[in-house]
């Protein structure tokens, strides 16, 4: 299914209201400055907000050089993950505004890779774009062949949340069309494909498996819960499993669509099978192992039903670097 203009516009306009507090150890003025209120684009990155935030605090900072980083409840935030993904992943129960702490000193370089502001965010974006291109096309020539100024313009359109500019630049990117590989396989089974003008290369059905760039963030909790507000807070990133792995689209006999559930289960096979069965299976040594259960799947802040065709999800909800970021909350298998 092709991208729906309205859906993509909705994604690009998505934003998270942030309330940014200066870390108390860095408050050098009296009284302490009030928090800064900033609307952060979901598809953007935290380092891009610094120019908006810094004016609020510059008079309160102790002397010295800036090395800026953010934390949420003590957890340092990975600046190269899109802001919307951080929010969906770290706030089980969405917190509005989202309260973050900004630091201008004491960069935790033992846990966070260095960030030199906008340049780092741009480098990360282009690198992710190249990786996505490699996954979709089998090479990243399309990105390498783009002129420097076109690459600049593409990045600028993302920085500014300018969907129109981005859409105008897309043809220069020449990214392969993900949709073709899906619809071709589906069309070959329908009688309609034999009529009409579109030529379909029949040999394609045998050879190609589409690969879709996906970044999966899995948060596992030990106990089931009734409400999201009962989900415990995160202490460290070690509680989250990150899978940077393409989904391989395979069309099975008798199935019309490859669903979001199919995609997630291909990456997390231990959550596949009959979801209604949450009671344990006897292990050989007599211990019981409870199968894990997927509680929540969020993409661009939307909690999706797992039966939606994956092609729709990809084409409408992916980020500008062509990656689909999926946040999943699961009840981990008990051991």
């Amino acid at each position: 299914m092709a991208a729906n203009e309205e859906a993509v516009k909705y994604v690009w306009e998505g934003a998270i209201p942030l309330q940014i507090h200066l870390h108390k150890s860095e408050v050098a003025s009296h009284p302490a400055p009030p928090p800064a209120l900033v609307l952060a684009p979901r598809i953007g990155y935290l380092p891009l907000l610094v120019s908006l935030i810094k004016p609020y605090f510059k008079d309160s900072l102790p002397p010295g050089e800036d090395s800026i980083w953010f934390d949420y409840k003590g957890v340092p935030l990975k600046w190269y993950i899109p802001t919307g993904v951080l929010f969906d992943l770290l706030c089980a129960e969405p917190e509005r505004p989202w309260n973050l702490t900004i630091h201008f000193r004491g960069y935790p370089s033992n846990v966070l890779i260095p960030c030199e502001g906008e340049d780092s965010a741009k480098w990360n974006f282009v690198n992710s774009l190249k990786e996505a291109a490699y996954i979709i096309n089998g090479n990243c020539k399309n990105v390498m062949n783009m002129s420097q100024s076109d690459q600049e313009d593409l990045w600028t359109s993302v920085m500014n949340g300018d969907l129109d500019a981005y859409t105008r630049l897309l043809p220069k990117l020449k990214m392969g069309n993900i949709e073709d590989k899906f619809s071709r396989k589906a069309d070959l089974s329908s009688p309609k494909s034999r009529q009409g003008g579109t030529e379909i290369d029949v040999t394609e059905q045998v050879v190609k498996t589409a690969r879709i760039p996906v970044r999966l963030y899995v948060r596992s909790v030990n106990k089931d819960f009734e409400n999201l507000e009962d989900v415990p807070e995160i202490d460290t990133w070690d509680e989250i499993s990150y899978l940077n792995r393409p989904v391989e689209f395979l069309r099975e006999k008798g199935k019309c669509y490859f669903t979001l559930r199919d995609a997630i289960e291909s990456l997390l096979p231990e959550y596949s099978g009959d979801r209604a069965q949450t009671s344990g299976e006897e292990e050989a040594d007599g211990s019981q192992e409870t199968r894990g259960e997927i509680k929540l799947v969020r993409i661009q802040g939307i909690e999706l039903k797992l039966d939606i065709p994956f092609s729709w999800v990809v084409n409408n909800l992916m980020n500008p670097e062509f990656y689909l970021h999926i946040s999943v909350l699961v009840i981990g298998p008990q051991r």
């Binding site: 260095p114 070690d238 499993s241 990150y242 899978l243 393409p246 981990g332």
Partner: protein
């Protein structure tokens, strides 16, 4: 020839193939590279992923001794790791050459990239007090030949990125076009033009990549 779909014939390798190749690599290394401790296979088991067959290769606490002035004349590093042949545990006794030498410790991980379908080398260096070494310091530990390779070439460079599984910054070696030179290696080494068998994939890969970080493998491993 595509043995059970493990090595794709354009120089890439599948996840399953990587697991097989890793085991074969670690075995050969243990048998033929006695000046080094063995590589260990680290399975990816955590609370959500029960995939015991997935993992990465790890070689840690390799001591590189270098004088602070740099070792411009040396082609190979003075590498040593004090380890007991009887046990797996590594005793970190440092051999000090002269007062200007400083011991630097290195960890190497060979991790599979599902996106590019090739292995990637991650590494980090630290001093005896555990403080991470900067890239400038690390480059001084590398053989001069590889430093010029890094500076001049467009096909290999080092970046600082987050380790895919450990939530910490590591250095990653990017050999661009890995699949292309693996293909070249396989074409030149086999008489009938067949691709590298999966058991030798990582050996071939490391024979090139290892040199960039100063780790050479003995010829016997290539058989």
């Amino acid at each position: 020839m595509d043995s059970a779909g493990e090595v794709v014939n354009d120089g890439k390798i599948t996840l399953e193939g990587f697991t097989v190749a890793a085991r074969a690599f670690a075995d050969k290394w243990k048998r033929h590279n006695l000046s080094f401790p063995p590589w260990s296979w680290v399975p990816l088991i955590n609370r959500t992923m029960l995939k015991k067959e997935e993992g990465y290769l790890s070689l840690e606490k390799i001591i590189i001794l270098s004088s602070l002035e740099g070792s411009a004349e040396e082609e190979s590093l003075d590498v040593t790791a004090d380890w007991s042949e009887k046990e797996e545990s590594v005793d970190l006794t440092v051999l000090v050459q002269n007062v200007e030498d400083e011991a630097h410790y290195y960890d190497y991980h060979i991790v599979y990239s599902a996106s590019y379908m090739v292995p990637m080398l991650y590494f980090r260096g630290y001093s005896s007090d555990g403080k991470p070494l900067s890239l400038d310091v690390i480059k001084r530990d590398l053989p001069s030949s590889s430093v010029s390779l890094l500076l001049e070439s467009k096909w290999t460079f080092i970046t600082q990125e987050e380790h895919p599984y450990l939530n910490r910054p590591w250095f990653k070696l990017h050999p661009c076009g890995t699949e292309e030179w693996i293909k070249l290696l396989s074409e030149s080494s086999s008489s009938d033009g067949c691709q590298i068998p999966v058991e030798l994939y990582l050996v071939s890969w490391f024979s090139v990549v290892g040199q960039v970080v100063g780790l050479k493998i003995p010829r016997e491993m290539l058989i």
